[in-house]
Symmetry: C2
Subunit: 325 residues, 2 copies
DNA sequence: CTTGTATATGAAATCGATTTCATAAAGGCG
DNA sequence: CGCCTTTATGAAATCGATTTCATATACAAG
């Protein structure tokens, strides 16, 4: 690196103290017009840019937040992250994105890293296996998204979630109204979302006086390794005519199976909507989550918390929209 | 925030100087066994974590890199970013992702921000409108990905690119071999990729003794606003039976038009492959770019440059793979 | 002409680490 | 026992900003 231009050099150039240069940037009303001009000339001339590092050091704020999710490759999270980044940029914040792959150890390490970097806050889709967030983050503000926080001090934190149960209920309900006679489900057991979506599934069956058979439900580990066999098993042994998929990754894997086995007749529903669902030969019913909105809301919640650390905890639940094709 | 635990408190706890505590972390071989033990006890007891900020300040390295792309929502870039993040994490680096939306001003602002934060380097898919990168980044290492850097000192930088021309050639060639008689193209004029892909398109036509008609080519601004009309225009006025799309976003918009106008017969090829192409009713020919690999390569290139600032510039070109459906 | 009040500026402390330089204690050797 | 080399440690400077406190000047009021 070529040597950085510091406040010292500007001070020298303008023949004033470093304090005065700093004031030109932060409290110009305390500085005389001529001095301001001299200092600004120096800044232009030497192309001065204040070191964000040094400022953070002094001010105890980094204007940086962390976003901890399972995987940016999942388009739901991608959109969410984009929502956060846009909101953050507008307010002068930078975003560090961390992929946990649903691995609690990775999550732990990333959180530590963010604490070390003194992020101003963290937006977190937690794998949910941590007993005590507070001791991990040492009073750093946390906003939980997508998944309900678990553990003893979970209720201390702001959340932005969706109504998984209702969304799933509507999707399964729509499947049945379209004539499905036996609906099976594949959901992820990770975090709280899987359970809640399964609840919606069960309630929809019950509402239509369908029996709930445990063998009609498969739990997938979200990483997509075994989805194919699970799906195939449901389809072949249960002879189901409709499948409810707990997320878009699962649906993708189900589609692979259907294609490979040339199963043309299957009603499909899935939690989370993607644009390309429009182009698939099956008329996919989907629960559209406002991922981008969740991102912006989470960021705003975080900012509010930062501005007012003692205000009461908020729990935001955003609406889903049923998409019928 | 509750007050942070600093090196000072550890020093106090262990009854040694701050220098010694620092040495326990960085050069333990200079410290006696007993002292190490005392200091480590203190660290455990007080849950000490060194401030990354203070370290960066002293060491002039932040262990942070910037990634500047047009949009994470584009799955090509998502995958690329994931490749970078995985490689970075392994080496203890954090990643700040910046979305330019192909807006040179935004790109400029983000680069400034990264310079202010003293990122150790930047991986950049540039919109290409900057004359002088060097003066912008002040000797910070830069690795260009996806797009060729433009401007006078463009040749000073490492690049990791794909062979756009060859990939496009193969795709269009395959379309024609599948029986296409009039192939049209929609590409993005942004950056160098559009031009190169168009060159491949032209060469493939020529190779098959097809005439090159300028009205068969549409330039789309990548933001997808006008793709629909452009596509419709090509299809209706030119009566083409095959379309080459310059990227996955364009293809998505073309599919929308085809669906809306119920055009069932159209051969399609696209630069960049996505998993869901398998499930679309049209047998999409695609050019599979190793996005994840580009990401890891770019990061490694950046690390190499950091380790050895004076080594000669490298230009890496990764292979694409034709996917025929 | 003295006293008091703005106005403008600088010296020095601070944020939390690392590193250089100096020094004290301990051990080796003649 | 005295001299020299290791070994272990601390004091202080440094990284690049901000902020407090003190001070110097200018000007108004008495």
């Amino acid at each position: 690196m070529s040597k950085q231009v510091t406040i010292k050099q500007i001070a020298q150039y303008a023949g004033v103290s470093e304090a005065t240069v700093s004031r030109v940037l932060n409290q110009p009303e305390l500085v005389s017009k001529q001095t301001i001009q001299k200092v600004k000339d120096g800044m232009d001339e030497l192309q001065y840019r204040p070191s964000a590092l040094a400022q953070s050091m002094r001010n105890h704020t980094t204007k940086t937040i962390g976003v901890v999710i399972s995987n940016v490759l999942n388009p739901f999270f991608t959109t969410l992250v984009r929502g956060i980044e846009d909101a953050a940029t507008k307010r002068g914040y930078s975003v560090i994105v961390c992929n946990t792959d649903e691995n609690p150890d990775k999550e732990q390490r990333y959180i530590n890293m963010l604490v070390d970097h003194q992020a101003d806050g963290i937006i977190l889709a937690s794998t949910g296996n941590h007993a005590n967030y507070h001791s991990m983050v040492n009073d750093m503000p946390l906003v939980f998204i997508d998944r309900m926080p678990q553990g003893k001090d979970a209720n201390l934190y702001d959340t932005v979630l969706v109504d998984n149960e209702k969304g799933s209920f509507n999707a399964v309900d729509a499947l049945i109204k379209q004539g499905a006679t036996r609906v099976n489900a594949i959901v992820s057991p990770v975090a709280t979302t899987g359970t809640e979506r399964l609840n919606g599934f069960r309630k929809a069956l019950t509402a239509h006086d369908f029996p709930i058979r445990e063998q009609d439900i498969a739990l997938d580990d979200y990483l997509g390794q075994h989805t194919a066999e699970l799906a195939l098993n449901l389809i072949q042994t249960n002879q189901c005519d409709a499948l409810f998929c707990g997320n878009n990754v699962i649906l993708m894997n189900v589609l692979k199976v259907l294609k490979e086995w040339q199963i043309g007749d299957m009603k499909l529903a899935v939690f989370d909507d993607q644009p390309w669902f429009d182009f698939v030969q099956y008329p996919i019913i989907s629960v559209d989550q406002p991922a981008y909105l969740i991102g912006t809301k989470a960021f705003i919640t975080l900012m509010d918390r930062l501005a007012n650390p003692d205000r009461p905890v908020t729990h935001d639940i955003v609406r889903t929209k049923l998409v019928i094709r």
